[in-house]
């Protein structure tokens, strides 16, 4: 895919705003990894809490004090094993988890010094060590003879596949894209996953064996849910959200109005970021992580003015306080209570966007105040959420609600042989770590179901 919606003849949209070197520097690691001595000192700060709040706050149940204690004693393999046995994507989660809202927010050190233990960086330190050295931590149990289909090679699907493989099952993973990894590969901000980390991590995970990979296979096209149910003993759907929400404005297809998800995927895949077309005045519509990611990365690519326009107030914003601060540090403006009303174009490219100024009510509703505001823009990014592609799902009496798949606590769907997890399920929180947990819980449940009475 390419940026065919940005026309190079547009006055303000061009590549090479920054030099190759500047771009490389901008997209280096957001947080430098800890050195061994830094890791030991940071690990010493952990109080080894009882029934630790950080572990309770972790969606994937990682024994945080346990792995930090192992870092303290130079037992990095033990530390990584504690992490990866609960969360096989512990390396990526160490990079992209909103730790400031999860484990690190729960750290008791916040109580008296407002400076939590750097759990994310410590987790990265431990997991990098085994990934870099290829330390094998998992082996497969005796072959059960059972086969399971996994749809989607993102964090949910691969987490499920890995756990099932460990338990002795045979897995086939289908993914519509050419490369595996889902949003780890195509979605996470580039400065959170440097040096092709997503693929390195996948190589490590898939080294377990027993996982057959089929790319270019899309549900509803090359494969069907019905067919998979017939062919396999169980099916896990970790297909994510295949399409993005639209603004539903007139002229939405004009040049310069771009899906943020698509642009980020392109940004992640290109080998020459300085060749990317970058706007001068950019407006990002949305209030979640994608909005922050596209805004910050646009700045790092050389955009002059980047404004995030969110239709509700600051408190309602899905992006964490930390992420909002990150955006502001990169000179991104965040404007609240702006609801997109009209796109204005100039010579077939967007030139401005008009907003209704809203007011947020205590009950969470928002009303137009009657005022409006116009922001100049040569690029408008749409980052207002994604939705499930339901083709290929609805014909099979799979229960959906609010356009998502309904699952129980074991991530089992309404269909006997089908489980689901990750962004495609109802009440998913769009976090990598939660997707990994979904895949793990589904695998445990699938294993119990398939081995009952065995």
């Amino acid at each position: 895919m390419s940026n065919n919606k940005i026309k190079s003849e547009g006055v303000n949209i061009k590549s090479h705003r920054l030099s190759k070197k500047e771009i490389e520097d901008n997209f280096s690691d957001l947080h430098a990894p800890l050195t061994p001595i830094e890791a030991l000192i940071e690990a010493d700060r952990c109080y080894f809490c009882y029934d630790a709040p950080c572990t309770k706050a972790c969606p994937s149940d990682i024994d945080v004090p346990g792995f930090i204690q192992s870092i303290r004693s130079d037992n990095l393999t033990g530390a990584a094993e504690k992490i990866l046995s609960e969360n096989i994507f512990g390396g990526m989660c160490a990079r992209d988890c909103p730790t400031e809202e999860l484990c690190q927010q729960a750290c008791v050190r916040n109580d008296h010094e407002d400076k939590p233990v750097e759990i994310g960086l410590l987790q990265r330190y431990a997991t990098d060590s085994v990934l870099e050295n290829g330390v094998k931590l998992f082996s497969r149990k005796k072959d059960t003879g059972k086969s399971i289909a996994v749809v989607g090679a993102g964090p949910a699907g691969i987490s499920c596949a890995h756990r099932l493989s460990v338990l002795g099952h045979n897995i086939t993973v289908y993914d519509s894209k050419d490369k595996l990894g889902g949003l780890n590969e195509y979605g996470i901000a580039a400065y959170k996953s440097t040096n092709d980390f997503a693929q390195q991590e996948l190589d490590y995970i898939l080294d377990i064996g027993g996982i057959n990979i089929q790319t270019g296979m899309e549900l509803g096209k090359q494969i069907t849910l019905e067919g998979l149910q017939k062919q396999f003993d169980a099916v896990f759907l970790g297909c994510g959200l295949g399409t993005v929400n639209q603004l539903n404005l007139e002229n939405e297809n004009i040049s310069g109005v771009i899906d943020a998800v698509e642009y980020i995927a392109n940004l992640r895949q290109t080998s020459n970021k300085d060749e990317l077309m970058v706007g001068k005045n950019i407006v990002v519509i949305g209030g979640g992580m994608t909005a922050i990611d596209i805004a910050v990365q646009s700045k790092l690519l050389g955009a002059e003015q980047v404004t995030i326009a969110y239709r509700r107030d600051k408190n309602a914003m899905a992006a964490s306080e930390y992420e909002q601060t990150l955006a502001k540090k990169h000179d991104v403006q965040i404007q609240y209570n702006l609801s997109p009303k009209q796109l204005i174009s100039d010579e077939s490219n967007v030139s401005a966007i008009v907003f209704d100024v809203m007011s947020s009510q205590n009950d969470g509703s928002i009303n137009a105040t009657g005022e409006s505001l116009t922001l100049r823009a040569d690029v408008v990014f749409k980052a207002i959420g994604q939705k499930l592609v339901t083709e290929g799902l609805t014909d099979n009496s799979l229960e959906l609600e609010k356009g998502r798949i309904v699952v129980d606590e074991n991530r089992k769907t309404s269909l006997t042989k089908v489980w689901a997890g990750g962004d495609c399920i109802l009440d998913g929180d769009n976090l990598t770590v939660s997707a990994v947990q979904d895949g793990k819980l589904a695998a445990i449940s699938i294993n119990e179901t398939l081995t009952q009475g065995a």
């Binding site: 001595i37 029934d51 303290r72």
Partner: protein, 433 residues
Amino acid sequence: MADLTSNFLGIKSPNPFWLASAPPTDKAYNVNRAFEAGWGGVSWKTLGEDPHIVNVNGPRYSSMMSNDRRVIGFNNIELITDRPFQVNLKEMRQVKRDWPDRALVASVMFPMNEASWAKHIPIIEDTGIDGFELNFGCPHGMSERGMGAAVGQVPEYIKQATEWCKKYATVPVIVKLTPNITDVIYPAEACLEGGADAVSLINTINSIMRVDYDSLTMFPTTGGMGTHGGYCGEAVKPIALNMVAEIARNEKTKNLPISGIGGVTTWKDAVDFIALGASNVQVCTAAMVYGFKIVEDMKTGLSNFLDEKGMNSVDELIGKAVPSVTDWKFLNLNHVDKAVIDQEKCIKCGRCHIVCEDTSHQAIKYSDDGGNRVFTVDDNECVGCNLCVSVCPIVDCITMVAMESGVDPRTGKEITSEPADWTTHENNPMKVS
């Protein structure tokens, strides 16, 4: 400003911080630097008979470190001076001339024969030194040759060698003791009987630091083989304090002056030693870890502390805590403490709970009501053991509070102000009626 000047056995120094006989006092170059930095005195690196000993040409030192590489404990296998006797004497004479206001004590180690003492002691004293310190403590190398700790472990030898030294010396004689014994009172009393003017303690403790995890040999080694060293530094301070206090409260030795040694790193450590009976302190490891500048804080810290306590001099602090040290059998068994958690200060780490639950008396209860973690003391179970205080990461969050009246809910016994100890306890088969 409190007066830090020290008069130990008539040996005057501008402050009570001396450098112990060790590598930092090996030669004039180091000692001059120490005096420039402000140290009150030195005990010169131990002198012995010529021909002088030799040291290994590999690791002499190693340390136990925290994760941020702070030195907690320190180990050495260095022997006494490895320079000719006359070279040392010449330098000592010059140093004493150049620094008349500082204390200069000669540490010495000679074999168990009187002739050797008779030959060396007068020549050394002639340099102008203020006193002798008899090294009966060095636990490695020299002890294999019947000196150092080999003498310090036999009270009869201590007494004999002390008598010889006293016979040929006119300046004060301090005997430096080894902690590698069962009861420090025996060597201390032997010193007294031999006529020692004071004791200094402790010397280092027999130690092996660790193994090398790759080669699975002891660590460090001299080309693959190692030997035990002497352990010192902050980690040994409590062992030293106990021995100092034992001598200070022992009827026979309570008037024997003490120079306190063992892990002194800050002024607080000096307060510990002095309050438990030492008249001054000697330092080695802190200087070897941080350099001589470390004395600056020791001096201002001690001075400020004395000011806060309304004390005019170090002398007023000497032995202040000794009356509070006693035998277990005299502890008041009627006294009842209970732990009290300050909920405002508590950060909810739960360490107090889990250590009490797993290893003590199940007296700290835990409830988690939807993320609201609360830790509370159950007085019905609390024995007042202080474990929770000992592990709590927050200063003054948990305190032990004495019950003044009422009934101890754990034992059902009325609180009484009448003390009662083991000597009269009904469970004691040897109780005095």
